[in-house]
């Protein structure tokens, strides 16, 4: 734990430096710095190791893969595994990317719309039943989704939405967390701005679209990214709703594929790379929003 503090020690020493001998200060500081970076880089390698192991495995030949003990770096790196997967007629990957993209984007759009609209309503309007309605949304946020999963499925059966991608969209319009987060944001928009628009003759919907939404840029980006990631990586619910192979989303098709190829880990790892890496690239672009979103809300 002591390694955590050198930064603070240095700032202290700067102010009370007169009392300490300069050589001692430098030694402590240098050693502390070194330890901090040592620990951080150690942790970093632990974090990256599984990714590297996956990527290196995907570049190995079946022969090399079967070797005991295994090699770490591929000896003759090859893209054959990727070609095998892309040419597999049983695995139309583009279709599955399409399915996942459709579900993720639909939910991002609907949830951003409903969250900002209801967030606006809860932040800026007074009406009877408001508190009750808001508390209700908070309550639904607390209930684990597995509790309502079974009736949720039965509702989709009744609506004939089982086995359709729409089933993953039409019953997920509202996002209690999103509403909560948007309300927090919209409360900071000054009322004068809304009233000014009202005086200029804007209708309430126009105010929402022209005044409120443009103020929400960063909040919408944060929420949108979180919803996208959550949907893209979601596993249990899509597995329950969709049983037909062609309509599945990427995570489910990944487990299906890896069960089909249980004895061929080079192909398993290659498929995993192809599912995992695109989202990591998206993450690097939106990293700032995601980190901001988590810190603000602790949402997973």
């Amino acid at each position: 734990m002591a390694t955590a503090i050198p930064g603070t020690t240095a700032s202290l020493d700067r102010e009370t430096g007169a009392r300490q001998s300069p050589t001692r200060f430098r030694a402590r500081c240098g050693l502390g710095r070194f330890l901090v970076y040592f620990m951080l880089i150690l942790g970093l390698s632990m974090t990256l190791m599984p990714f590297l192991w996956m990527i290196f495995s995907s570049l190995k030949t079946p022969m090399e893969m079967a070797r005991v003990p295994p090699t770490f770096f591929p000896e003759e790196p090859t893209l054959d595994n990727y070609k095998t997967i892309l040419n597999d007629p049983l695995l139309p990957l583009l279709r599955f990317y399409g399915n996942s993209t459709f579900v993720a984007f639909s939910n991002v759009f609907t949830n951003l719309f409903t969250s900002s609209l209801l967030g606006y309503l809860f932040a800026k309007y007074e009406f009877r039943g408001k508190q009750a309605l808001f508390s209700f949304f908070l309550l639904t946020m607390m209930i684990p989704s597995q509790v309502t999963m079974i009736p949720g499925y039965l509702i989709l059966v009744k609506l004939h939405l089982v086995n359709t991608l729409w089933g993953l969209v039409l019953t997920s319009f509202l996002n209690a967390f999103g509403i909560f987060m948007m309300r927090q944001f919209i409360e900071t928009i000054p009322n004068e701005l809304l009233d000014a628009a009202r005086i200029d003759g804007a209708s309430e919907w126009q105010i929402y679209i022209r005044v409120v939404v443009p103020q929400l840029g960063p909040a919408l980006a944060t929420l949108g990214t979180l919803i996208f990631m959550g949907n893209w990586n979601s596993y249990l619910w899509p597995m329950v709703v969709i049983t037909e192979k062609e309509r599945r989303t990427l995570p489910i098709i990944l487990t299906w594929y890896s069960n089909q190829h249980g004895a061929r880990p080079h192909l398993q790892m290659t498929a995993t790379v192809m599912v995992v890496v695109p989202i990591l690239i998206v993450y690097f672009f939106f990293q700032r929003w995601i980190v901001q979103g988590i810190t603000m809300t602790g949402f997973k």
Binding site: R128, G129, I155, L174, V240, V275, L280, I294
Partner: protein, 325 residues
């Protein structure tokens, strides 16, 4: 709805008609769709657990309950408590494993994330952001991908872990398949999925702790150090108490999500070996969607809800009293 209208008319000395229409235009669909859907789900879930329900059977007119899906009262719960039947024993195992999992994950997560956050917080500027971004990578990785990556690391022949053990002269270990292997009384397969889960999950708490640490005024720490406190004492007596609210939040959220663990376990072990990694959500999933025993599964998910509520409330009590003290 009439209540909404009434208040809108009275509130704030007469709202413009346009505003009232807007409020109604938004709330009515929301209440019908959102509250309707949630209420229906909740009521249906509560009702199901008193029935012997299977979706394949033709039941009564109301939600398919009754008829061939008979009302059995508290029989599911009696069955659970007696713990004699096969499904009840599997449920007990799952409940026990879930508790083991959650109570192992929470402290291990804190041991990793809190020092890590302190380390990251102590470096400056761009490097800090870079570290934080990379450390967060596993958290945005699809959990199915995480499970497959770790499954490959644990692979008895081709896995990275056994390669290291072999290099050190040890015998290969069947991390995910050997039911006899135990560590601290818990099966090694369980530890293996715990490690994979920790790797995937720690980024969240790390990011939250970093933000909380940034929020602590530097002057507090400096004041303590001028008074002669060493680095550990500052951390223990200044930083940790100021982190209490964050700590409470993190503990509750981490527990909540580890009680609901499913993806990593279903893909890595599917509850095996010998049900040693079978957890509640997996049990619920298998009962409801594999064996079509939805009444039983609804009862099990109600127990999950109870456990979650009890543990959350207990944590809030525990940490809050300490905080006020």
């Amino acid at each position: 709805m009439s209540m909404l209208r009434l208040r809108a008319r009275k509130g704030r000395g007469g709202l413009a008609a346009g505003q009232r229409r807007f409020i109604l235009g938004v709330t009515i669909p929301t209440v019908i769709y959102g509250v309707g859907l949630s209420l229906l789900s909740i009521v249906w879930a509560l009702a199901l657990m008193f029935f012997e329900y299977s979706p394949g059977r033709a039941g009564g007119p109301l939600l398919g309950l009754g008829g061939n899906n008979p009302f059995i009262g508290l029989a599911h719960f009696r069955n659970m408590i007696e713990g004699v039947s096969l499904e009840a024993r599997l449920f007990h195992t799952s409940l026990k494993n879930t508790l083991i999992f959650a109570f192992a994950v929470l402290p291990l997560n804190l041991i990793v994330t809190l020092p890590l956050a302190a380390l990251i917080e102590s470096v400056r500027g761009k490097i800090k952001n870079a570290f934080r971004a990379i450390y967060f990578l596993p958290a945005v990785t699809a959990s199915v991908g995480v499970a497959l990556m770790w499954g490959h690391i644990y692979h008895p022949q081709e896995g990275l872990l056994n390669a290291v053990i072999r290099a050190l002269g040890g015998p290969p270990i069947f991390w995910l398949d050997d039911p006899r292997l135990k560590f601290l009384g818990v099966s090694v397969a369980m530890w293996a999925v715990i490690v994979a889960y920790l790797w995937q999950d720690y980024g969240y708490n790390m990011v939250i702790f970093v933000a909380a640490l940034q929020g602590i005024p530097q002057e507090f720490k400096e004041a303590a150090m001028i008074d002669g406190a060493n680095a550990w004492q500052v951390f223990r007596h200044v930083t940790v108490p100021l982190l209490r609210p964050t700590l409470l939040f993190v503990c509750v959220m981490t527990m909540l999500s580890s009680f609901q663990v499913f993806d990593v376990i279903q893909v890595m072990t599917n509850g095996q070996p010998r049900n040693q990694t079978r957890v509640l959500v997996l049990d619920i999933y298998l009962n409801a969607f594999r064996y079509q025993r939805m009444g039983w599964a609804a009862a099990a998910s109600f127990v999950l809800l109870l456990v979650v509520v009890i543990v959350t409330v207990a944590q809030m009590r525990l940490l809050r009293t300490e905080w006020e003290y």
